[in-house]
Structures are given as C-alpha cells and as structure tokens.
C-alpha cells in the first residue's frame, strides 16, 4: 500500500496541517488558545482535538480499522455536535484532512505521492461518512437525554401514583391522587 511508504515526518506535517485547518474553524482568538494551552483540564476542547486527530492520522496512514476510526472520531463529533456548527460544519473538519493532504502533497518528493493521495482521499471520504453517522447518533442521544431528564423531574409523582394505583387495585377502589404541582 502506497501509504505505508509515507515518511513519519510527512505524516507529522499532515497532522499539523489538519489540526491547523480544524482549529481554523474556531474564531481566531480561540484557535490560538486551543492550540497553545497544554493543560487538558484547562483546555479540554484543544486536548480532545489533538488526541483524536493524532489517533486518526495513525489510522489514515496505517491499517484504517473502522472500529478504531469510529472510536477516535467519536469524542470530536460529540463536541462539534453541540458547538455552534451546522451539521455540515460539524463533520466538515474531516473533509479538511483533504486540504491538509493537498498541502503536504504540494511539497513534491517530501510529500505524499499521487497514488498515496488517492488512497488517502478515499479513506477521508469514508471517514466523512462515519462522522455523519456519529453526528446523527449524537443528535438522537441528545433527544433521549432530554426525555430522560424530564422523566426524572416527575420521579416521585410517578412512583407515588403507581403505588396509589396498586393499593387501590388491591382494595378494588379508585386511587387517591398523587401530589399535585405545576412542573415549569
């Protein structure tokens, strides 16, 4: 496979370019902070992007294992699903890997050869599709989380009502009403 012959230095340059393009999707002051602050707790977004893109780069130039690619993509998609991006922009950072590859390829013999570039392009396209699926799942998750949160707010009400009904059924009568309130 042409990709395995790409040098480590070229892969590093690709990662650097891809990270820079991805950070460029945030406002300027923010991208500087995301790039420069090394503490993973003071800068959780920058840290997540760095770790995930690193892992994805290894996959892109290596075995491209679908399960591992999904696992690396997942934290970033979780992030971008709730940040101020349209769906296209949320997954668009994956497509930016193409720009990074093109930029690295421009450097001739030091870069990525045309054969390798083709394989890389196909892998990036596949990654975009995985990312789109993950984004979809995140949106579903958010809806389910909202519904469960609403249920938790009426927990005692539901429990008390269930108990009242069970007791009434045992007695053969109508249940006493459960605690009343207006849930905002």
């Amino acid at each position: 496979m042409a990709l395995t012959t790409v040098s480590a230095a070229t892969r590093d340059r690709f990662l650097e370019e891809w990270l820079a393009c991805t950070l460029g999707t945030y406002p300027e002051q923010t991208s500087r902070f995301l790039r420069e602050e090394p503490d993973p707790f003071r800068n959780p977004v920058g840290h997540t992007l760095d770790v995930s893109l690193r892992g994805l780069t290894v996959e892109l130039f290596g075995g491209f294992d679908r399960a591992r690619v999904t696992a690396w993509l997942d934290p970033v998609i979780h992030l971008r699903a709730v940040q101020d991006f349209s769906s296209a922009d949320a997954v668009g950072f994956v497509a930016l890997a193409r720009c990074a590859a093109d930029r690295v390829a421009e450097r001739g013999s030091q870069g990525i050869g045309p054969g390798a570039l083709d394989v890389l392009g196909t892998r990036i396209d596949e990654m975009v599709l995985i990312a789109a699926d993950l984004l979809d799942r995140c949106h579903e998750e958010i809806h389910a989380i909202g519904a469960r949160a609403a249920r938790r707010r009426v927990f005692v009400l539901e429990r008390a009502q269930a108990r009242a009904e069970a007791r009434a059924a045992a007695r053969g009568g109508a249940p006493r009403s459960a605690p009343r309130g207006e849930i905002p």
Binding site: V45, D84, G92, A95, C99, A149, A150, R153, V156
Partner: protein
C-alpha cells in the same frame, strides 16, 4: 432551489472551510438548543414585572416598549448610583485577560463573547457611551457602543449564557465579579420584559405556593408522607416528618426538587433517617417549602422577596434556628445577601447543635446552618453509628457546587462526610475542584430542556474531569450538594461520561447510618443491593 444546486464543476471546487463571522458583530442567531424560551406573560403578571406579552427570542420583533432605550439607560443610571460594585466593575477592568479562559462556556463553546471580560464588555461598552465623557465624545474609538436592539438581543443571548458561577472572579486580580455584572444585565433586561420562563415561572410559583414547582401544602404533605413510607420499607424504621409544627426547635428548609425529582429524593430519605436517628426536634414548612431562590437570577428585589418567606415562616412557627438542605444558590443568597436584605434575624437564636452543643457562631446573623456543617459536626463528635461498607458499591468523586464552594467556602465539610461514609473516594484534578470548580453549565436558571445543547457545551469542562477519574480510578458516582446539579449533571454525564451516576452527600449518610430498630438491611436507599449482599448472593 434548482438554481442553488451546484454544477459538477463547482462540486469539485468545494471549499471545506466553514464560513467565519466577525465576533465584533452584535447580531446573534438564536439557534434551537442554544437559548431559553421567554417568560410566559401570566408569570410576569403574577410577579408584577413589566411588559408581559407573547414573544420568543427567535422572533424578529421583541415587542419592546416604545421607550425601551430610555428605560434601560435610566435603569443603568439608578444601578450605577445604588451599587458601588457595579460602577467599580465598569471602570476598573484593565483587560489583563486573566479571566478570559476561565469560563466553562468559553472553554466548551470557543465563542469569544463567552470570555468573562468580553461578556462584561457587552454592557461596559454601553456604559462608556452614555456615562463617560470619553465615550460620549469619542465613541467607538474608546470602545463605546450605541444601545441598539441588536445590542439588547446580544445581552439577552450572553447574559443567559452565564451561569453566575463566579469562577472567573477567582482569577481576576481586581476581584471583578462578572456574575454580578450578569445579574445587573438580567435586571436591566427584566425592566423591558426580556427574561426567561425557567427563571420567572419558578419565582412566580415560589411566591404563590412557597416552592418552584407550585406544589400546594397538601401536595407537599403527600410527597413527604410517601418518602416516610418508602424509608420504612427500606429500613424497617418509621420516622416522623412533622410539617408546620409550631414550637419546634429547628426549621428545616430544602430545595423542592428533593421531594420530587431523582436523584434528589434519596438525599431527602437520608435527611429523614438522620433527623430521626439523632432525635432532632424539627419541623418542615409547607410554605417555606423551597430553599432555592430564583430571585437571584432575576433581580435583587426578587431575591429579597423570596428569601423573606423563610424567615417569616421561622417567625410564625416560633423555631429557634434554621437548618438548610443540599441546595446551591440558596446558600449564596444566605451568605452574601440575606443579612443586608432581611437580616439580622435576631428574633432567632444563634444555632447550637442540641446533640453536640457546638455553637455555630459563623451563622450568628443569618441563624441558618448548612446541613453538611451540622452533619460533619455530628460525625466529628462520634454521634453517628456508620457502617461505611454499605457504600462499597460506590466509587465516589465530589463536585464542588459553585455557590457553596465559592460563595460560602463550604469545601471540607462535604468531603469529611463522604470520607466517613464511603471507603472509596477520588478527587478530580486540582484545577477543576474547590474554589476552581467547574460549573455544571446549567445553573442560574439555564437548566431547561430547550437549552440542552448550550448546557452540554458549558458543562464539558466539568464532565471532562469526571471522565478522567472514571477512566483512571473507576469512579461510578459524582456526589454534589446542589439541587440544580442533581438535575443537570445526570444528562451531562450521560452525554460525556456515561456510567457515572449522581448522588447527594446525605444519600451516603442514609445508606451508612445504623438506625436503632432497623431491619437487617440489604439494600441502599435506591433499593440497590449493598456490595456485601451481592457478594453473599454470588457465594450462595
């Protein structure tokens, strides 16, 4: 539509980069999931607040009063004269940037206007324009902006994107408290009827029935009776939970979610078990049935009105002092505002624990003690029999809720209780706890379902630290002492750190507490088998 379809040639030249926008532009887009719905007119009317009407933030026309600008500027002037802190905060910021990267909303969203210094600048720029000579003369060259409808909408967007958590103020060398600036911003917005339902409805309900949920006294009693029944089923001990009992020594006030929502409810079971076991002479009140004070998120006037009812009840019932439950902003109100607004509560006595005789002198003015202070003192004096193995199924970390931690310095007591009731406890990284704790991302009335996306952004720094201890130490529960946290951390963790539950500190107390006359317990307050019971079953 057809003319927008790109040609094949255009398709090959797709620019993958998202379109940027200038952050200086005041125009904000109210995208679904990132804002809270407006206050319903009936709730504004109930509280006597201005401009009740049907509108939503995404509407073009906000139906502002014709003289809205004069109202806001007059309101600003009044507050600049009344609150020295506000004028100071407007004047002394040197834009050093120390606060810039400290806000969880900035860290999670990357939106520069969520940097505390810029959040404050939204209002400071208007202050400069209308209240300083340089601003009046030189305008935008000195960072002054006209007050326009777009600016007002921008205020609404960003002041309802600040949880008033005060993390930024910890890092400001001048002590500028952006939370206080947000409070003034919201007060000004309220003058023209721009506020959110999740704040105003609880405030109106609280005013009407005594609690956020609008539960009436008989509903309150039903709920408490139900908890008493369930506690008996679990422990075999029948406890008493008196309501509106005149002449009791202590009034106990908790957040209403404790008797309605989960996981709050297990904290309530813990309180009830504890009070029974130590024989506390106490009463609940069906009218002061809410510790929370959503006035804090509306206006100073509203804080005062809602806080007063707790003291009115204490007076009516003739108690000697008050214990407050696991609530967040109730304690901010109590420690920072109560005394000047409604205090001193000198018709009450300085709290003295009837069990250990400890005198809580720090509460000499408010006469109200935090349940964690009370319980930690009981444990310190060896007055509770605790079987810590009953919490062995929990591997605990502790989230310092913003208000108890930063507004009242309640940092060690909950940890002391956890360490004495649970055997496995791991702290999150130092720069995410104690005074530097990260907010849940949903405080100050922002915990609505429609705002979930924004909450998940803002809560990411907190959840990220939880995920770290989950992965490193196998932590499976996040303890906290705030009702908003208990409601909003479960969704946050489901999204960012699945497998970590949320619990109140007094739930652990209720699990570990050995009660006189209890049955051979095999389950915790949630009805889950103790770790030892699970092992027995495995060996059987």
């Amino acid at each position: 539509m057809a003319d927008q379809t790109p040609s094949p040639e255009q398709l090959t030249q797709v620019d993958y980069r998202p379109k940027g926008k200038s952050w200086l532009d005041p125009h904000v887009e109210f995208r679904k999931g990132t804002y809270c719905y407006s206050a319903a007119p009936k709730n504004l009317t109930y509280l006597g607040l201005p401009n009740p009407r049907q509108w939503q933030p995404f509407d073009q026309d906000w139906k502002l009063p014709p003289d809205w600008k004069d109202i806001i500027l007059a309101g600003m002037k009044e507050r600049l004269d009344r609150y020295r802190s506000f004028r100071l905060f407007m004047d002394i910021c040197v834009r050093c940037g120390a606060c810039a990267d400290k806000c969880h909303f900035y860290l999670g969203s990357g939106d520069p206007k969520n940097m505390p210094v810029l959040r404050a600048e939204l209002i400071r720029s208007v202050y400069r324009r209308y209240f300083t000579l340089a601003g009046r003369l030189l305008g935008s060259t000195v960072g002054a902006r006209d007050l326009t409808e777009d600016v007002l909408k921008e205020w609404f967007y960003y002041f309802y994107q600040c949880t008033e958590c005060r993390r930024c103020s910890v890092f400001c060398p001048y002590g500028i408290d952006t939370a206080e600036i947000t409070m003034i911003g919201r007060e000004l917005l309220t003058l023209v009827g721009c506020n959110i339902n999740w704040v105003i409805e609880p405030a109106a309900n609280c005013f009407r029935t005594g609690n956020h949920l609008g539960i009436q006294p008989h509903g309150f009693k039903d709920s408490i009776d139900f908890a008493v029944d369930e506690l008996e089923e679990i422990t075999g001990v029948r406890v008493e939970a008196p309501i509106n009992r005149k002449g009791a020594e202590v009034l106990f006030v908790m957040p209403s979610a404790d008797y309605f929502g989960t996981p709050h409810y297990y904290t309530l079971l813990g309180y009830l078990a504890l009070f029974h076991e130590i024989g506390l002479d106490y009463t609940l009140s069906a009218f002061a049935s809410e510790g929370g004070n959503f006035g804090l998120f509306t206006s100073h006037e509203m804080i005062k009105r809602l806080n007063a009812k707790i003291y009115a009840e204490a007076k009516r019932l003739g108690v000697k002092w008050i214990i407050g439950g696991e609530c967040g902003h109730m304690w901010r109100v109590m420690h920072q505002y109560m005394d000047t607004m409604n205090g001193p509560a000198d018709f009450l006595e300085v709290p003295v624990s009837p069990i250990t005789h400890t005198r809580f002198d720090h509460a000499a003015s408010t006469r109200m003690v935090h349940i964690c202070e009370f319980t930690a003192d009981l444990i310190r004096h060896g007055r509770l029999k605790l079987d810590v193995s009953r919490n062995d199924h929990w591997n605990v970390t502790f989230h310092d809720s913003c208000n108890p931690a930063r507004a009242m310095g309640l940092i060690e007591e909950p940890r002391y209780i956890i360490r004495n009731t649970c055997r496995t406890f791991h702290e999150m990284p130092e720069n995410t706890i104690r005074e530097q704790t990260f907010c849940c991302g949903s405080g100050s009335g922002l915990g609505t379902d429609e705002n979930l996306e924004m909450r998940l952004r803002g809560g990411f720094p907190r959840a990220n630290a939880v995920r770290y201890v989950r992965d490193k130490h196998g932590v499976n529960v996040l303890a906290c002492i705030c009702a908003i946290d208990k409601a909003t951390l479960p969704p946050l963790l489901e999204y960012w750190s699945p497998g970590v539950d949320v619990a109140g500190v007094h739930e652990f107390v209720g699990n570990a507490l050995l009660m006189k006359g209890e049955r051979d317990r095999t389950t915790d307050l949630r009805g889950e088998p103790f770790a030892s019971a699970k092992e027995d079953r495995a060996h059987a």
